[in-house]
Symmetry: C2
Subunit: 333 residues, 2 copies
């Protein structure tokens, strides 16, 4: 099917580019609140499900065993920008489990933001696995293995007990059968399973409310949500959408980006889960759509609506800061 | 109309993302050789027409007056990576006209490639307008003003004689009327005019062959093409598609990227011009489509076909260099 155009990119008065995609909003019982476009074909949620992948870290008692607080738990759910505070936090997570950066198998990459690249280049020269945006998630996986006394060497492989447990958690929350023919390799080398948007939205409604979850899993979800609400900078970084939205709304909104135009999120007070995929993988469009969905389903004060507007209809500026265009969420939403 | 899906992004065995777009291939007489999708709605060609914008630099005699060689002319056509050799070259262009970086009005940005960002951060600390990918084009505009003895202060504004001349050149080559309601502001602040893909393809066929152009314009086009073929690194930079394709094919292929999923190009021996726009602005898709169009219309040796294959069907690797997927140009092309 042809997914609808969700976002138009304006330059001057003309549409320069357009982004198609699909959106699912669901409640914890699996009821469909909104289904735009194809919400039934499995798609790779990528990093948007990191908070679900972090549930075993809390449920197994590993987080308590190593004395993790909100910063560590937020980092376990993060696609962080590799800023110094993120690197320090991940280093601390590993140290609490008796490990260091040599245990990480996520690969190294330069930080996402060019100022962070420049700062790193000036300070230490080269990026390490600690700077990888997934290093907090990987540290969480390592801590689960260490707390259980399992060899952590191959913690990233699909057959490792940690990844098997993550897969079981994803199946439990999404209700989707994650067969091997739906499995691919993520940017940081752990498995990523293709899951329909409607199942992802359902999973995040359960994550947001604890409904239809075992009591320990519901408590773990609440603790991870509280950690992200308390430490949103650790979930992403300076100027990032996930960080700024959760700074704005606190525990009322959970949002998490994934590569290739994915956003997942939840509105706990409304009992709703949200899953968005842009066909073309564009993050700029997925985040404008997420902002529009929040504006549609979350009761907002006038001040909040005004604050959210710059995410729904971001102004585009050029290298001289001239206003050259805007993103416009379409009437489809 | 719905443009066709031109490129699919595979992760493992599943399609993760997809890119729609339109393609026009034309000859110098305006004959349509290929029209896929909507080739008649005006789109912003952005930096893909820099070689056309550079024609006045040669035609007016400014390039000769300042003793420009292939490197300077290639830089005038470039979206360069801000590597040291690019910055040195642009500095030299400006110096030959008695100017320096303070005359540039393109704005400053960090180089595109993170290694170049890191190198710059280690060396000098901050980017200047010289590092802007458009600094060579802007230097060309400044040189036209200087050679003509015109005040160059506002060289970037639509009303300035240099931009009026650029507009006339674009109208002459594309055959499109560039009314003000089709004008927007480019990333570097000069005007960008929306032009249909079929007109852009026609323009590049004329640029490639000199047919239907005044003799001085045809000579200027040939000189710019020769400069880009001789110095393809100056047109883009290390590891960039434009550079690698022109290194591979020399004067047989001209290609130039533009922001928001644009590629323009030409096959001079075949007398063909090419214009590509991905609906969503994705450069990765536009360049795979350009590679596929070259493979379709340019006679290739077996070795050349093999060398081109990695651009038509690029393998995607993650931070550990594991092969995780591929780009696949669809049967539409």
């Amino acid at each position: 099917m042809n997914n609808p155009i969700l976002v138009e990119v304006l330059r001057g008065s003309l549409v320069e580019s357009r982004h198609r995609g699909a959106v699912a909003v669901a409640d914890a019982d699996g009821g469909t609140v909104l289904a735009l476009g194809d919400v039934t074909t499995p798609i790779f949620p990528r990093s948007a499900v990191k908070a679900l992948q972090a549930l075993p870290l809390v449920e197994t008692g590993a987080a308590d065993a190593f004395g993790f607080g909100d910063e560590e738990l937020a980092l376990a759910c993060a696609s962080h920008s590799g800023e110094p505070g993120h690197v320090t936090g991940v280093t601390r997570m590993l140290a609490k489990a008796g490990l260091d950066a040599t245990a990480l198998r996520c690969g190294a990459h330069w930080p996402m933001a060019q100022p962070a690249v420049a700062a790193l280049a000036r300070a230490t020269g080269e990026p390490s696995a600690l700077h990888n945006n997934c290093s907090g998630k990987h540290s969480g996986f390592l801590c689960v293995a260490c707390a259980k006394g399992i060899d952590h060497t191959d913690y990233w492989r699909p057959q490792h007990p940690v990844q098997r447990e993550v897969r079981a958690v994803l199946e439990n929350l999404t209700g989707a059968a994650l067969s091997d023919d739906r499995r691919a390799i993520d940017g940081c080398s752990v498995p990523t399973w293709a899951i329909p948007l409607q199942n992802l939205a359902h999973a995040f409604a359960k994550f947001a409310t604890g409904r239809c979850l075992a009591p320990e899993r519901a408590r773990a979800a609440a603790r991870l949500r509280a950690a992200c609400a308390q430490k949103p900078w650790h979930v992403a970084g300076t100027g990032r959408f996930c960080t700024e939205i959760m700074q704005l709304f606190g525990a009322r909104v959970f949002v998490k980006t994934g590569a290739e135009g994915i956003y997942c999120g939840a509105l706990p007070e409304q009992g709703l889960g949200i899953a968005i995929k842009c066909d073309d993988g564009a993050g700029r469009a997925a985040q404008a759509v997420m902002a529009a969905i929040i504006a549609r389903f979350l009761p907002l004060s006038d001040a909040e609506r005004t604050a959210l507007e710059r995410f729904v209809h971001p102004t585009l500026r050029n290298w001289n800061s001239f206003e050259i265009g805007a993103l416009r969420v379409t009437a489809a939403i």
